[in-house]
């Protein structure tokens, strides 16, 4: 595959690994958080960790949209489908997120709810047009990557005057989450992993640009390297982070220059500003209530807001007592540190959301990396 295989080249990877081994100073520990689930997935699926020196450790961040979706939000969606009888559309992984009463969207579907997996927001809109007699709700999740497509379909639904289409908006924003992790790191009460630098988001940065990270880098003295989702991108970004640390720099650098610009996609940003407004506060799974960290539909498009149309009341629901997703999403625990990892909580019956998507830290480690826990064995 052109433009893909080049970024997965094993020989180049070995060269980068050799550079990393040469440049990482043995007396230092390097702890980098990859914010995005896409990076977590790439690191696990391609075995990137095997190419890192022992003193360079990756901490998986909260940037998996499925993982930070709180139980209460999934409950709302399930209630819409089961009690209000709507057709509920959402992206694939979301179907498995555990909710209250041992339910998930997939299990609600088995109870007769009309729940459909779609590949794009546009497919949901098309379905709404095809069945005008039924209310259809699109459960919109994701960071700034999936937000512009939702904005587009809302605007299109308004243009068409559709009365049977609405959006349950759970879109969240990347910068507030990074700020939270950095703030918590300086706050004794909220233990967060010590982090020396960030591998910055790929697709999110295409939309928001690299500029928004400059403030973190300067204010918190943490280097950020924006990286693409291919394994060579990640390896290159880690090398760039090591160099910044070694030089005492804390800058925003862009490894993903083939797609990310300083200002980002202005058209997409304008579209988001038009269709969405900031929520005062939003609950993130694992991180809790974060102010100004998520979006709702703007007043202009309020008619398409499922929360208003169906008068939904959000009720927060506590995570399972033993689930460590919160600590894992903040980077203070690793999946294998959780008592129920791989026993009670598996990809077949996830207890916490980090076990749901292959971008989640727990599922990625379970699916791709758990042989490492079995102890060092002959290669």
């Amino acid at each position: 595959m052109k433009y893909i295989d080049e970024f997965r080249d094993g020989a180049l990877a070995q060269q980068l690994a050799a550079r990393l081994a040469a440049e990482a100073e043995p007396r230092r520990e390097y702890r980098f958080m990859e914010f995005c689930g896409g990076h977590t997935h790439a690191i696990s699926r391609y075995g990137v960790a095997d190419l890192l020196p022992a003193n360079v450790r990756m901490i998986h961040g909260p940037g998996c949209p499925v993982c930070v979706l709180p139980i209460g939000r999934v409950d709302l969606a399930i209630r819409l489908a089961l009690e209000h009888g709507v057709t509920l559309c959402t992206y694939g992984d979301t179907l498995r997120v555990p909710a209250s009463d041992q339910l998930s969207l997939l299990k609600a579907k088995a109870r007769g709810a009309d729940i459909r997996m779609v590949y794009s927001a546009a497919d949901a809109l098309k379905l709404a047009q095809a069945q005008p007699e039924r209310q259809l709700v699109f459960l919109a999740i994701g960071f700034e990557t999936t937000t512009p497509p939702t904005a587009l379909v809302v605007r299109e639904a308004a243009r068409l005057g559709l009365t049977n289409f609405s959006v349950l908006c759970c879109h969240v924003l990347t910068p507030p989450a990074i700020r939270h992790i950095l703030d918590a790191a300086g706050d004794e009460a909220q233990a967060t992993a010590a982090i020396d630098g960030f591998v910055g988001p790929a697709h999110v940065s295409i939309v928001i640009g690299s500029d928004p990270y400059a403030r973190f880098a300067a204010a918190y003295r943490k280097p950020v390297v924006i990286a693409g989702f291919e394994p060579l991108d990640v390896l290159q970004a880690i090398l760039m982070l090591v160099r910044q640390i070694n030089d005492g720099r804390a800058e925003v650098e862009n490894e993903f220059t083939r797609a990310v610009t300083p200002a980002g996609n202005l058209h997409a940003q304008a579209l988001m500003d038009e269709v969405f407004a900031l929520r005062e506060s939003f609950e993130w799974r694992g991180l809790g209530e974060l102010p100004l960290s998520a979006l709702r539909l703007s007043d202009r498009y309020a008619a398409f807001d499922a929360e208003r149309r169906f008068a939904l009341q959000y009720t927060p629901v506590a995570d399972h007592k033993l689930c460590e997703c919160g600590a894992i999403l903040r980077g203070i625990k690793r999946p294998q540190d959780c008592r129920i990892f791989g026993t009670v909580c598996t990809p077949e019956s996830p207890v916490g959301s980090c076990m749901v998507s292959s971008e989640g830290a727990c599922a990625a480690h379970y699916t791709y990396g758990r042989f490492r826990d079995a102890g060092a064995r002959a290669a």
């Binding site: 094993g10 992984d93 999936t146 379970y366 699916t367 791709y368 990396g369 042989f371």
Partner: protein
């Protein structure tokens, strides 16, 4: 002298549809069987018209396998549910080391399904059975109300025989040091099916690999009777099949990603959909495992057959109490190739 058969208006294969009478066991059912199934599958055992079939079996051990087919859409690039229902069961019998001989077929039809399409499916089934050298000797038809089925479901059960003294490959026989082979490119069937689903709307040139593997298996076992394990990696893909074998044999496996044959179109489609081709279904591929010293002969036997032209050695069996199937990635790292959990759902970003 018996009275002449009264005139019966033949089934309308142009505009007719399946109705509830066709499954009721009365005249309509008898007519459907006579004019459609018996006409297409015709053989001496079916012709006897009894509730079951009395079958001659050559000497040896009898093998039996069954498989239910519920594919959507019913017609897909490279095949349809009819030939798939034959290949699926023939292959399950063949990989046991048996020569497939007979099939039983049971149909669950949805009220309203067009008879014209049903006839196409049955014709495809008959052709596949003929090509595989098996006779469809008994069957059953039920009709469910509209909305309670998905057009056509077909369950087939196969019977075959392992000749005395012939090799008996089995899932528990993989040993550390053995080599692992796959008979060709993986993921073709799953991608062919996905490419037709309406919500995807992209077209690939990928055809389902659905095929009967009994010929390939027979030649393979003749060339390398030491073959320890044979299996067809269908639902759940190559990854699931290898995990099953690892668990049955109490061993681990080491695969090399770079050696696993994969069409660029399949790789690209999986990339787009966020799927891992290791978990995508095949319907005409074999996994074969044999001791290292017979590996070269096994690979040559696979490649000598048209269905094994792209065969490759993809890794080896290792001792591992945890039963992990691991893979050296193209990138130079290592990862687990785990069981498929649930259905493979696309990732979102």
């Amino acid at each position: 002298m018996s009275a002449p058969e009264p005139y019966v208006r033949p089934l309308d294969f142009k505009r007719g549809r399946v109705d509830l009478n066709h499954g009721a066991g009365g005249r309509a059912a008898a007519q459907l069987i006579r004019e459609l199934f018996a006409a297409a599958f015709d053989n001496e055992w079916l012709r006897q018209g009894d509730d079951g079939a009395r079958l001659p079996l050559p000497a040896g051990e009898c093998v039996m396998a069954t498989d239910a087919h519920v594919v959507t859409p019913l017609f897909f690039p490279g095949g349809d549910i009819g030939c798939l229902a034959v290949h699926g069961t023939v292959n399950d019998v063949a990989v046991m080391g048996a020569r497939p001989l007979y099939l039983a077929a049971s149909f669950i039809l949805e009220e309203g399904y067009p008879l014209a399409e049903l006839r196409r499916i049955v014709a495809s089934m008959a052709r596949a059975a003929r090509e595989a050298g098996v006779a469809i000797v008994t069957g059953d038809t039920k009709v469910v109300e509209q909305g309670k089925g998905d057009g056509v479901f077909i369950t087939t059960t196969g019977v075959g025989v392992i000749a005395p003294g012939a090799p008996r490959p089995a899932g528990h026989r993989a040993r550390p040091g053995d080599r692992i082979y796959v008979s060709g490119c993986i993921g073709d069937h799953g991608v062919a099916i996905l490419s037709t689903r309406e919500s995807l709307g992209f077209e690939t040139a990928v055809q389902s690999d659905t095929a009967a593997l009994h010929g390939l298996v027979a030649e393979l076992l003749a060339a390398v009777p030491q073959t320890a394990v044979l299996r067809d990696p269908t639902r759940g893909g190559l990854a699931t099949t290898l995990n099953e074998i690892a668990a049955q044999s109490g061993v681990g496996m080491r695969l090399r990603e770079a050696d696993i044959p994969l069409r660029p179109q399949v790789a690209a489609a999986c990339e787009l959909l966020g799927l891992d081709p290791l978990y995508v279904a095949n319907e005409g591929k074999l996994v074969a495992i044999c001791p290292a010293e017979h590996g070269a002969r096994l690979l040559a036997a696979l490649r000598a057959h048209p269905l094994g032209a792209d065969a490759a050695c993809i890794g080896e069996v290792v001792a591992d109490e945890h039963g992990f199937v691991e893979m050296e990635t193209r990138f130079g790292g290592r990862r687990v190739v785990d069981w498929l959990s649930g259905e493979q759902l696309p990732r979102i970003c």
